[in-house]
Amino acid sequence: MFLIIGRPEDSFCQAIQSHLQAGNHECRIIGELFQVPGSAAVGVSRSEVLAQCKDVKGDWLHGNDLQGVYVRELVYPEASVWTAEDYRYVSQEITGAFLGWTAALPCPVLNRYEPRTWYMRFSSVLAWRMIVRRCGLEVSDRAGEEIAPGGHQLRLYRAAVIGDDLVWDLFPPLDHEKLVSPLRRFMNLNSLSLLEAVFNFEQDHCCLYSIAFELSPWQFSPHARQEITSKLVALLTGGSPTVNRAK
């Protein structure tokens, strides 16, 4: 059994689910984790750690029965039914529980976020520049700049990194092979299996312009999107050593 954490109506969740099912893998999409109508739990005792969740049919799915989990999106409850203060509290609790839940799963999880990566997933590349440089990549001078319409033209190249594989949108930059090892180092350092990176071509080489841990398939061409889907499914099902396993 494979699990996708995300919105059932999300077309990318549906595409991953279809691919898995086409390969005779059972797959469910769970939108509400640690909130009604769903339930989830992590139990910790001296002898064991057990993560579980309830699917839409009301069946408990135990972590030990899961073959892999793809975290597309953590869905939060509707804000309008809460006061602002309560909503903030509930969201924090759901996030805290979710981060512990994925940490407790024994199966591969894409991405198994640690709190340090989860809370920095919307940070600009400016925040990552020390680690990025240590991994052998250069940070674009233009990183973090807001590009005004009609402003400087940038030559941007977008790639999805899925385990060991890179999927470039349309076509890769000239020196794309030099980027593979540094990107892998970055992912290993941050316990990531999936990453989206945008490079800017500056002074004859590529510099990192932006980085995201959640894939945005709609930003890729249909062909690249298809490749992303199949590579992600392969990573999830193939037991690749690059998949982030439980520690």
């Binding site: 909130q35 139990g43 910790v44 005792s45 609790e93 981060l99 340090r116 940070s123 520049r129 973090g144």
Partner: protein, 306 residues
């Protein structure tokens, strides 16, 4: 030694440390996070080299490449709004500026006590607990769930002696799951909560500063001593077994922290149950009551980076 110090002007811990640094070691480069949108700016236009970018405050200027170390105690932008220092309408601007400065700091090569990224483990008590267990800590039986049936079964398994508390970094009072709270379990389905086996014994806080450990025992009639009247809380120095010191150092370093406050419940049989790791411990009260040189040790530690 050029110490960049980021904290809230409204935070007593921050002010105590600033004062102590200024008195004993001279100039301090302080940025007030309550006013971070107005008190300074970053000049990155005059140079393409990051080391030459400079922070410009009202009465000082500092190049990024000259910073020896950073002390960061960020308690969130809401703090300035809640305390009435800033208007709610100013929150968006304050938040945007804080995010920019946090991103800038995060990418600095110099030591930061503590980096915001690694402090984020505080937002998942369950994640912390799992890491503590993996690092050899004894931890209480714990259940994090929004399922009423599982919570009731957990309570029954522990004969009703169960504590519940926040699963995140949100400040919330730890309480016993007594009859009154048991009746409120129907509210659980909307919000996951952390339930733990009640451990009879004392609260112990261990502060780790670099490689040094300081133990404190806290006696209070309240389950959560933070909410007890101060004059009814007895704090005294507590000797720490070597294994506990080693564990505390190990988990602090595993999280990438230089400074931490680790909470334990310790039974009469000397079983040390680890509860959580605080990456921004407010230690001035503990220091005042025990005389432990926590601030001095921290300042010495920061000075070593000079």
């Amino acid at each position: 030694m050029k110490l960049l110090f980021l904290g809230h002007g409204s935070d007593p811990v921050c002010n105590y440390l600033r004062q102590a640094w200024s008195t004993s070691r001279g100039a301090i480069y302080f940025l007030d996070l309550d006013w971070i949108d107005r008190c300074c700016k970053l000049d990155r236009d005059s140079s393409r080299t990051e080391r030459s970018w400079s922070i410009e405050a009202t009465n000082w200027q500092l190049k990024l490449g000259d910073i020896s170390a950073v002390f960061l105690r960020f308690l969130g932008v809401d703090r300035a709004i809640r305390s009435g220092i800033r208007l709610a309408t100013e929150k968006a601007g304050l938040e945007a500026a804080a995010n920019l400065w946090m991103d800038l700091l995060e990418g600095l090569e110099c030591p930061i006590v503590n980096r915001l990224s690694v402090s984020n483990s505080n937002h998942s008590k369950l994640f912390q607990l799992l890491q503590m267990k993996a690092n050899g800590f004894l931890v209480p039986d714990t259940l994090v769930t929004n399922d009423i049936g599982l919570a009731k079964a957990f309570s029954a398994r522990h004969s009703g002696r169960v504590v519940f508390k926040s699963a995140s970094g949100a400040r919330a009072r730890a309480q016993l799951l007594d009859e009154h709270n048991y009746e409120r379990l129907h509210l659980l389905s909307d919000c996951p909560t952390q339930f733990q086996q009640f451990i009879p014994g004392s609260d112990v806080r261990v502060h780790v500063i670099g490689n040094q450990c300081f133990g404190l025992q806290i006696e209070s009639a309240e389950l959560d001593y933070r909410y007890a009247p101060r004059d009814l809380v007895l704090i005294k120095t507590c000797p720490l077994p070597k294994t506990i010191q080693d564990q505390c150092r190990r988990i602090t370093h595993a999280f990438g922290l230089y400074l931490s406050g680790i909470d334990f419940r310790v039974t009469s049989k000397q079983e040390w149950y680890g509860l959580e790791v605080n990456p921004a411990p407010a230690f001035t009260d503990y220091q005042r009551q025990t005389g432990q040189p926590l601030a001095a040790t921290l300042l010495n530690f920061l000075a070593e980076f000079g």
